[in-house]
């Protein structure tokens, strides 16, 4: 277990206090992790409001299920797992609704794409569009690795998959991005 996987003493104490019903301790855990959760959910859904709802849902679920957290991994990893499940369910639900609407128009996968008014460059938009075109699981792995900088082992633990599977998923995603960005010079 790498250092990043382990819970710090302070985090452990906060979790223990939150479990005992200390609301302030839980608020502190929320404050420490809310931006990480928002970053992931926003990148995956591409909609601020949906991402904010998911952040709220993630922490609400965490509060209810706090008794089930064993403390073997970092608290943020556990939160990432809850958020990742929410995101994947959201994408599946979107696909199902899209299928049921019998629309012939191809609905694009939800994903974060910076708007033109943002101070982001063309490269950024191109990159974001390329990421948006990835299959959901590859996109999730890529975002966790590239933007959130999580180690492969931690991503594997969060997603409940093997480390090699995660690495393969990441490699495939990178390959697709490279193909797409090849002409962008």
């Amino acid at each position: 277990m790498s250092e990043s996987d382990k819970m710090t003493t302070t985090e452990r104490e906060l979790v223990a206090r939150a479990r005992a019903g200390d609301k302030r301790a839980f608020d502190e855990l929320v404050n420490r992790n809310k931006d990480k959760m928002f970053s992931l959910t926003y990148r995956m859904t591409g909609d601020r409001e949906t991402a904010l709802d998911m952040v709220q849902e993630t922490f609400f679920t965490a509060y209810k299920e706090l008794g089930k957290f064993r403390g073997e991994a970092a608290f943020s990893s556990w939160l990432y797992r809850i958020a990742a499940n929410r995101v994947m369910n959201h994408i599946r639900r979107g696909r199902l609704l899209s299928f049921l609407s019998l629309s012939r128009e191809e609905t694009p996968e939800p994903s974060y794409i910076p708007d033109d008014s943002a101070a982001s460059g063309e490269l950024h938009r191109e990159m974001s569009q390329a990421v948006a075109a990835l299959p959901p699981m590859q996109k999730l792995i890529f975002n966790m690795r590239f933007y959130e900088e999580l180690p492969f082992r931690e991503i594997a633990s969060i997603l409940g998959r093997g480390e090699s599977t995660v690495k393969t998923g990441y490699q495939k995603a990178v390959e697709k991005l490279r193909q797409r960005l090849k002409d962008f010079r």
């Binding site: 250092e3 931006d35 926003y42 904010l52 982001s120 900088e149 990441y170």
Partner: protein
């Protein structure tokens, strides 16, 4: 998280993309590294202060409701347990009572059969008659009469004559 080991891991797969010429490999990796740094610097996806407050307020409201519901359920669970226990006792008592009653009814039926159809009396019927006789005898003794003969033996001749004339029972029938 940003240690050298992880950083190397991050580019492990970029390096595995096999660029056309080995001398460009380093350049590609450097480019991707620069791309990553640029993108990260440009996109700090954080909630605004307003959004953050909104999320925290909504979360507080939901947690408050959840806690109240949990406490209410906890309080009601005691009452529910008491009511369930009482119902269980009532049901058990009723079941045991009903379980005993058919036995008595069955006995009564057997006695009736024995008296109605004496020709086809079986061993069980005989037993039942004996049981009835014992019951009657017990009852009579409990009333202090001893037996029918004792009761009649205490009557005087005049009383017996009166009974023979006015009551239709026994040999005078």
């Amino acid at each position: 998280m940003k240690d050298k080991h992880n950083d190397n891991n991050l580019f492990l797969n970029f390096g595995a993309l096999k660029p056309q010429a080995p001398d460009t490999e380093g350049a590609l990796e450097a480019e991707l590294r620069h791309l990553q740094e640029t993108l990260r610097a440009e996109t700090p996806l954080k909630m605004t202060d307003g959004e953050s407050r909104r999320v925290l307020n909504n979360l507080d409201l939901r947690l408050g409701r959840y806690q109240r519901r949990a406490v209410t359920f906890y309080n009601y669970s005691y009452r529910l347990a008491a009511v369930t226990a009482a119902l269980f006792l009532v049901v058990m008592t009723a079941t045991l009572t009903l379980f005993d009653m058919p036995a008595v009814t069955e006995q009564s039926t057997t006695v009736t059969m024995a008296t109605d159809d004496s020709d086809s009396a079986t061993a069980a019927d005989t037993l039942d008659e004996t049981y009835v006789y014992l019951l009657v005898n017990d009852y009579v003794q409990s009333q202090g009469y001893g037996s029918g003969e004792t009761l009649l033996g205490e009557l005087g001749d005049e009383e017996l004559t009166y009974l023979e004339k006015n009551l239709k029972f026994g040999d005078s029938r």
